[in-house]
Amino acid sequence: MSEADVKSWINGDESAKRMLDRVLTSRPSFSLPPPLHRIPLRVANVVEIAGPSPSAKTQILTQTAVSCVLPKVWNGVHYGGLGRPVLYIDLDCRFDVLRLVEMLRHRIVQVNGCSSTAGNEEILKLSMRQFSYIRCYDSFELLATLKTLHHRLQKEKESNGIGGHLLMIDSIGAFHWVDRASTTLPLGGKNRKCLSLQNVLEIVVEDLRKLLLIHPMLVIVTKTAIVGTTGNEVKRNFKRWPSSGTPDTSSELERLQKPYFREYMPSIWQSFVTHRILVQGSDDHLAMPKSQENDLAYVSEWLLPRLNILDKFVVRDAGVFLVS
């Protein structure tokens, strides 16, 4: 190393202000709509939305996608979105694009009114272009998608220069049963890795980890929670899948609470998740003064980090609304 090099190294690359600016643009924090609003989320976080079916999980993802793709300010009008690209990997194949459009329209009309239809359509298209979608019908397609995602993001970065994506996976356990039953044809040497549930998830986590190192992204994943039934079945299944990865006593508490959710994801996945929120339907039907129909209420609770706050929300045409 020459003297000049050393000098320039000591001088430092940038001022604190420039660094802060750089970090804030390249590793932004996301302020997301309810029920994800309680905790500030940053890129490289992995959020798991767990809940039995139906508990409005896909709805929450769609709502989050809406506020992510909508620009913050456009043509001098404040829309209050994040203006960031969304990647949606659909393993359940139940995403409804028309629902996304419906909710985006609601938001745009809220700001603009119905007056400028052409302008509204333009902003809708602009936002929708930020949304990328892929469906996978089996684990191979998921792995192939993740393996080639780096190249795709790299290309995008070169052409647009935007980072800070939001990556969504709906829902991570979709191929659980298929992978558990899968077998590989015996072929070749002994050192060949065989395909199994464990291996697939290990490599999914590994690929995601590597992607997160290079491309700043916030990952939001849904997981269908399986409600454990009472009696022998719980005991039997519990023995089969000990819920590891949650060493705190909270899992102990959860087990006492009703209903009991059975953890079926391997520990490698559980240690990959940095935030976990539980959503479930509540038995209350809230009579809303505005609409004649009763809305079904859902309850959300942060499990990781544990916040002792229950948020109650309802889903209407315009999206998710907090009620308490």
Binding site: S53, P54, L98, L100, A144, W177, V178, G188, I226
Partner: protein, 321 residues
């Protein structure tokens, strides 16, 4: 999945050297690549004498892998596809259409659950007739319990067209009836068979641009799935999930609506709930629960789940005799 040896004929860069380099690391097929850590493989390849060729070969395999997943599409393309191809099919039942926001949506799987004699098969037959007549589309009807009745279909068709004619013209009737194809299946494997045949047929039709099938009805899918859902082992559930995955694929790629029926079992407090358990719940787009009061011909239906409507709504309808 393709072995590297097979790929060599197409891509000569994947030569014998590269194959033995991969074989040493337990990689024989493209599938093995998928479950391998590519970065460590690249790092290994850089150590080798012919690293440049190996890197080219790895990039070639990555290109092959890129072809294994469906293409990414952006929101605008999705929206246009939905507006152009994903139409809504009226079921012929006003109450039901209202509940379903217009009817059965192409690209979605709708589940109709209900106890015995709650009108599931009647509804399926009515929907088949309506779709064949009003939407002039082909209907594939998979019958698992010999409950399909051509007579009932003809009866429905006569009812649907009544405002225009007293009795449907025999020629029209024949044409419409011809577009409903009924196939008996008695186990899940023959269903896979039928669906795979259908897929290849649709694929070739898609190339020619004349797809007339627009609806698949499986009455009832639960009688195919229940026998394979044993208490232990994952094979049964794996088959169930793959069957639904295939149905969702057909629905989305070839713009079909899918209607399946399910029976009910006693839930908490004896209230009937759809059968097939927890892991089934996530597999369909729309879930409906049907019931009928004893002796009356009014059917009650409630929405358990819908991608774009609040669940919990209910409706009533009548199916004429």
């Amino acid at each position: 999945m393709a072995s590297l040896k097979r790929l060599e004929t197409e891509f000569p860069i994947l030569d014998r050297d590269f194959q033995s380099f991969c074989a040493l690391r337990g990689i024989f097929t493209v599938q093995d690549f998928l479950i391998h850590d590519l970065q460590s493989l690249v790092a290994d390849a850089e150590q080798q004498t012919s690293s440049e060729r190996f890197m080219q070969a790895i990039n070639q395999v990555l290109c092959v892998i890129d072809g294994l997943h469906r293409p990414w599409s952006n929101g605008v393309e999705l929206m246009e596809d939905a507006q152009k191809n994903k139409h809504v099919l009226s079921t012929g039942c006003e109450g039901m259409d209202f509940l379903l926001r217009g009817g059965l949506h192409k690209g979605q799987v709708t589940e109709l659950a209900g106890p015995s004699s709650s009108g599931k098969t009647q509804f399926c037959l009515l929907t088949a007739s309506t779709v064949a007549y009003k939407h002039m589309g082909g209907v594939i009807y998979l019958d698992t319990g010999n409950s399909f009745s051509a007579k009932r279909i003809a009866q429905f068709l006569n009812q649907i067209s009544r405002p225009a004619f007293d009795e449907m013209q025999p020629i029209v009737l024949q044409k419409v009836m011809n577009s409903i194809l009924c196939q008996s299946v008695f186990d899940i494997f023959s269903m896979f068979d039928v669906l795979h045949c259908l897929e290849s047929k649709l694929k070739s039709q898609m190339c020619r641009g004349d797809n007339d099938e627009i609806l698949i009805i499986i009455d009832s899918i639960s009688s195919l799935i229940t026998p394979i859902l044993g208490s232990s082992g994952s094979q049964g559930r794996a088959l169930m999930v793959s069957a639904m995955s295939l149905l969702k694929k057909l629905a989305h790629e070839y713009n079909l609506a899918v209607l399946v029926t399910n029976h009910t079992v006693g839930g908490d407090g004896g209230i009937p709930k759809p059968a097939l358990g927890e892991s089934w719940k996530t597999l369909t787009h729309v879930r409906l629960l049907l019931s009928r009061d004893c002796g009356s011909d009014t059917y009650h239906v409630s929405l358990l789940k819908h991608p774009s409507a609040a669940s919990g709504k209910a409706a009533k309808f009548i199916i004429n005799n």
